[in-house]
């Protein structure tokens, strides 16, 4: 085990040539399959870590966090397609925390190539690095990676199980497998003899798994078509169980209160008054936080207010102005990265007109609808945990560490998540519950965060600034030189998750800026890491969420300076560089009937961002109504390479856009004395029924690789809206949220 960790550390150098040696070795080492974590009972067969069949049930394991993106359904459909079962014949579960469920695609994304121009070398490097995920306990849902990860592996898992079942039937009937076919959970033999998979489970259990070829796309029955989501009936009837819905016999309800000064210590507390309050049983010290435990969550939350705690100061600047200055100061320091440096940006091309602008965006909270929570029971030897989390193995390891027990003593049950957006990739809420349960031996306890605790103890989308300089000539862009200043995400995230800080450039800081498919001859992007310790984390598209705004707002400014139509301006530059990006722009042009001339009182804006492998273009239309600006309509085109479930992809696209619009219009977290100043939805609103535009989505399959869906809908939203506001009002939005500078309908 020790050597595993050593290899992982060595091979996880992000963005450096040192990757090659480390990963080549790592890839060799991890190509061996991980042990199957499924423990079948008598008469059951676990064909591989993803398919389990008993004498009465077929269970498919979808070990990715279901936080609304529909992953359980599409993941199961990949297996079912080759297994020849329908989704209503199977049960889909998340399953245990296990190394076999590592994410092979996630790490492949962090290599600092542009992505859309993946050469074979870079592609195989990405895959090899992906295999290192196994070493890193990376059973992680994030980075829009699930379908990239599961696309081939899950179909292979289904195909192998199918062929093994056929072999069991062939053995029973004394005929060759080739005489058998499969359909709807049954093996079909000549003479219309049908044997249900469930009847074959016991016999198949004794066989070595059979390998099989994957079917051609033309033979697909489920993939490529809309599948009713397996979680839909539960979510329409209130019977779906989220983490916060777990109820165990004898369970206590607890509320958390942590130091509002982020990163500060708890020097002590006086709970005497709280202990007199109704329903309160005890107040437990959790290090830098305490929990009030009682008979009812609300009574516990009330009592947290009655505890007098001595909070230590936060290790971050005391005012928002100082935080702003710390980010700005990063521009003057050596760049953390120069991940794109095409041509020569030092000189203005002859006859070109220079354009420059500065932009700034705030810190953002995730604000998942389900406030953070976790439930735990420690019985003296084993810790059971129930939590909606995006990283079960990391959760297991962190809870073990915090409880002073071995990882093998921790059982993680991963439940449905009332939103994740990156927040549930952190371990803090699970660890607090584990620490609490460790001090309440034998009693299960559910630890819930109030909305205020949730919003004021986030790992925030970092605040960021950009200095953009460009040049236009003959109606097109000839130079783009961008500097991005923000906190580097990767070192903070890796330090929290793995206790290590990778060297090298932080791709997240410049994602969505350096890797855009624009054929601008002189194109440089530098990232500048701010020296600041605000807790930051992954947030639906993270770097691309702010760089998308910077880049696409500036592209608009350049288009106007060049006297070009903003959509045509982008089309020209993408056609030269990468056809799928041009195609999504052409598609929204057609869908929206773009003319470049919106009528009086109406404004239209366009933006295109390539992120997580997917180019997404959006056109947003705004209109002035009774002195207020309303979002009327949005058109989205996205190229996913392979559209496994068009209806679900449509939902991800308009949902991703809505998340981006919420942030663009209303989202802002500010800090005073290291404490977040916004605590609940009245201070941190989001888009609602009456402010959401009508939306049309088109999913394309032009590019050669399957690509991500959960995040790419978010980055173009803010710039498309900001550009529409410019079209309507003539005022350029260079900072967010827009509610400060525009009279938006709220």
């Amino acid at each position: 085990m020790a050597s595993f960790k050593k290899i992982a550390r060595r091979s996880f150098l992000i963005g450096s040539a040192a990757i090659v040696g480390g990963v080549a070795f790592g890839a060799y080492y991890v190509s061996r399959p991980a042990p199957n974590p499924l423990k079948p009972a008598e008469g059951e067969a676990a064909f591989n870590p993803f398919v389990m069949i008993s004498n009465d049930k077929i269970t498919l394991i979808a070990p990715r966090a279901e936080m609304g993106q529909g992953v359980h359904t599409t993941w199961a459909a990949l297996i079912a397609e080759e297994l020849d079962v329908t989704l209503d014949q199977v049960e889909v579960i998340h399953g245990p925390a296990a190394t076999a469920y590592y994410n092979s695609a996630l790490l492949g994304e962090v290599i600092p190539s542009k992505g859309y121009d993946k050469s074979r070398f870079v592609h195989s490097l990405g895959e090899a690095l992906g295999h290192a995920g196994k070493l890193m306990d990376m059973q992680v849902t994030g980075g829009s990676s699930s379908m990239k990860d599961g696309y081939e592996r899950m179909r292979a898992a289904g195909a192998s199980a199918r062929e093994t079942l056929k072999l069991a039937a062939a053995n029973r009937l004394g005929i060759a497998s080739s005489q058998l076919s499969t359909r709807d959970g049954k093996v079909i033999a000549p003479g219309n003899v049908e044997i249900a998979y469930t009847e074959l489970a016991a016999e198949a259990a004794g066989l070595e798994p059979v390998e099989a070829q994957l079917r051609h796309r033309s033979e697909w029955k489920l993939l490529g078509k809309a599948q009713p989501r397996v979680d839909m009936p539960g979510k329409a009837t209130g019977t779906a169980k989220f983490g916060i819905d777990i109820r165990l016999p004898g369970m206590k309800f607890a509320a958390l209160k942590a130091n509002p000064h982020l990163g500060g210590a708890m020097n002590g507390f006086d709970a005497s008054e709280a202990l007199q309050m109704p329903g309160v049983e005890q107040v437990v010290d959790l290090g830098n936080a305490f929990a009030v435990v009682g008979s009812n969550t609300w009574l516990a939350i009330q009592a947290t207010e009655a505890v007098a705690a001595d909070w230590g100061p936060a290790p971050i600047p005391g005012t928002q102005a100082e935080i702003h200055n710390a980010i700005r100061a990063a521009f003057d320091a050596e760049p953390n990265s120069t991940l794109r440096d095409d041509g020569d940006v030092s000189a203005l091309p002859q006859g070109a007109q220079e354009v420059s602008a500065e932009y700034e965006v705030p810190f953002l909270a995730h604000a998942t609808m389900e406030p953070l929570n976790a439930t735990a029971l420690y019985d003296g030897s084993k810790l059971q945990l129930w939590s909606g989390n995006q990283g079960p193995l990391l959760t297991r390891n962190h809870c073990a560490d915090a409880s002073g027990i071995e990882p093998e003593q921790v059982e993680v049950n991963t439940l449905l998540m009332g939103g994740g957006f990156g927040r549930r990739g952190e371990m803090d809420f699970s660890v607090y519950a584990a620490k609490l349960a460790r001090q309440m031996r034998g009693t299960p306890v559910q630890l819930t965060w109030s909305r205020e605790e949730d919003m004021t103890h986030d790992f925030y989308r970092p605040g960021a600034m950009a200095r953009m300089r460009g040049a236009v000539k003959d109606g097109s862009a000839v130079l783009l030189d961008g500097q991005i200043a923000s906190q580097a995400l990767t070192p903070q995230l890796m330090s929290r998750w793995f206790g290590m800080t990778p060297a090298g450039p932080d791709t997240a800081l410049v994602d969505g800026a350096f890797n855009q498919p624009y054929g601008i001859p002189n194109y440089r992007i530098r990232g500048h890491a701010a020296d600041l310790q605000v807790p930051i984390g992954a947030w639906r598209s993270v770097g691309a969420s702010f760089n998308g705004f910077f880049m696409e707002s500036f592209m608009d400014e350049m288009a106007h300076a060049a006297g070009a139509d903003p959509l045509e301006f982008r089309l020209t530059l993408t056609r030269q560089e990468w056809a799928p990006a041009a195609k999504v722009l052409e598609t929204v042009k057609e869908m929206s009937g773009w003319t470049g001339n919106a009528p009086d009182g109406v404004g239209r804006g366009v933006a295109m961002t390539y992120s997580f492998g997917t180019p997404v273009a959006q056109v947003i239309e705004v209109a002035e109504e009774d002195g207020l600006i309303r979002l009327k309509k949005a058109w989205i085109a996205a190229d996913l390479g392979v559209a496994l479930d068009p209806q679900n992809l449509e939902a991800q696209m308009f949902g991703g856009m809505a998340y981006g619009l919420s942030a663009a219009m209303f989202g802002e977290i500010t800090f005073a004395e290291g404490a977040a100043e916004q605590g609940n939805f009245p201070d941190y609103d989001a888009i609602r029924m009456h402010t959401m535009p009508e939306v049309e989505v088109r999913i394309l399959e032009e590019q050669s690789h399957i690509s991500g869906a959960g995040e790419p809908g978010t980055p173009p939203a803010a710039p498309a809206l900001a550009n529409a506001l410019f079209d309507l009002t003539g005022k350029r939005a260079r900072r967010l949220p827009l509610m400060h500078d525009f009279d938006l309908l709220i």
Binding site: M67, G68, G70, A226, P228, R229, D231, M232, P233, G234, K235, A236, T237, G238, T239, A240, K241, F242, I244, D245, R247, G279, S295, N296, T297, W298, L299, T368, M369, P371, L416, G418, G419, G420, F421, T448, S450, R451, Q647, N648, A651, F654, G655, G656, M657, A658, Y659, L661, S662, N680, F681, P682, A686, I687, R688, M689, H690, T691, M692, V695
Partner: protein, 154 residues
């Protein structure tokens, strides 16, 4: 002193302080977890239930103030016997994370009870207190229209 509550056609006796909000009586005492905690300040609508048919934010109704029969999402319909509005939610594949949907459905059900054929602006008006961070609004709107039509045909 124990309080009698009528919830989904059954009587429950609960023994909690008077000021405990109905939301937390339902979730932590009665065990009906379909009603969700989102904000605690009536800003998100996740906790919406009906009292005598009227949509209310259960996080703002104290136990001692519950004035009538309570209906929660569990009382509206079950997976085997869904109400028309719930069927419309499945038909339009509305939910993403699904956490806010109990509240959305309860709010929509009360809208349709008052107004069997709401216009888009009436939907805007009735539904704007219900937050959805996944942005499912277009499908919520479509599901409300479709449920309205089905209920009128029935």
């Amino acid at each position: 002193m124990p309080t009698d509550l009528r919830i989904n056609g059954k009587t429950h006796q609960v023994d909690l302080p008077d000021d405990v909000p109905l939301l937390w009586v339902l979730r932590d005492e009665v065990g009906l977890t379909g009603t969700k905690f989102g904000c605690g300040v009536a800003a998100c609508g996740a906790c919406t239930v009906h009292i005598d048919g009227e949509a209310v934010r259960s996080c703002q109704v104290a136990l001692s103030d519950v004035w009538g029969e309570v209906t929660t999402i569990e009382g509206l319909g079950t997976p085997d016997a869904m109400a028309a509005i719930q069927q419309a939610w499945v038909e339009h594949q509305v939910a993403q994370c699904g956490y806010c949907q109990s509240g959305q459905i309860m709010q929509a059900a009360s809208l349709l009870a008052e107004n069997p054929a709401p216009s888009d602006s009436e939907i805007d008006e009735a539904m704007q207190g219900n937050l959805c961070r996944c942005g499912t609004y277009p499908r919520i709107r479509a599901a409300i229209h479709s449920a309205a039509q089905k209920m009128q045909e029935a």
